[in-house]
Assembly symmetry: C2
Homo-oligomer: 173 residues x 2
């Protein structure tokens, strides 16, 4: 993480299952101007149209807002990333994880706005997510990676097919 600094380190472990509005500040980031701050938050009161705009920006297929709301509500952990310039705040990243609250978690919907990619923010977002899952005593952190992001996740410490374990998806026969 090097020069990343986050309030998550000092604000105590917020319960992932009962998230509060606790937020982390990244003090500095590669290529981000001085009057800009990047925040993390576990607050789930997200403007779902702003989230849709973020997902549009990376070319994801649209999903029904009603289902997105339900998915966020029933995720174990949601972490958003915000860019603040003066009083203006913009959603620039999102990630969430499902879990049994005991052994396993699976990470879904990791997204960083194209304007802010290549600055290490995706890695910082993932580190926050993993740290909070580990704080909750979840030992098995998993995800399903599209081919083009397998290398990104490897750099963070994810291993594809460890001991021959295969990620599988069910398709109607």
């Amino acid at each position: 993480m090097g020069f990343w600094k986050s309030l998550f380190n000092t604000s105590g472990a917020a319960s992932a299952s009962q998230p509060t509005a606790s937020a982390g500040v990244i003090a500095e980031a590669k290529g981000i101007s001085e009057n800009t701050r990047i925040f993390f938050s576990v607050d789930r009161t997200i403007d779902l149209y702003e989230l849709e705009e973020l997902c549009d920006a990376v070319g994801w297929s649209r999903r029904p807002i009603r289902k997105v709301r339900k998915a966020i509500q029933h995720s174990f952990l949601v972490i958003t990333m915000w860019e603040q310039k003066g009083t203006r705040k913009r959603l620039v990243g999102f990630s969430r994880a499902t879990s049994d609250h005991a052994f396993n978690a699976t990470i879904w919907d990791v997204v960083v706005h194209p304007d802010l990619q290549g600055k290490g923010l995706g890695k910082a977002l993932m580190k926050q997510l993993i740290k909070k899952l580990r704080n909750e005593d979840i030992s098995n952190v998993t995800l399903f990676a599209d081919p083009e992001v397998v290398e990104f996740y490897k750099q963070i410490g994810f291993m594809p097919d460890p001991e021959g374990i295969k990620g599988m998806f069910w398709y109607p026969e």
Copy 2:
């Protein structure tokens, strides 16, 4: 499914998130004697020591009962399989799934007692699980399969690494 018959088909779609004691009966099964019935259930009031015994029988590592209880409580869906001979009932199968209740589900801890393996019961258990997830409008049903069971899951309709998507596990760096 062929000759399998299950009350799940006729008892209506119980809410997976608020499971009731609804149970399915398998009327017949390969190599199971006439006075034996196999039941499915979504009731979560399971004797966790009986579950531990089942997991011991297939050689799984022991896990803290406290965490198993929490994992069952926070799973989206739990399906157990029971063998009934006269008034005697025995837990012979278990499976559960985590989910965001909207898009994705991940199946964990699928187990069938060695005494009853090779009779098609693992497949029947999985079919029940998938059917209930699909009834809840979950479109993405996933799992992580150990190498020796990849073929089993393929037969049920699971595909490894579809479109190059990789199952990944995080390990501490």
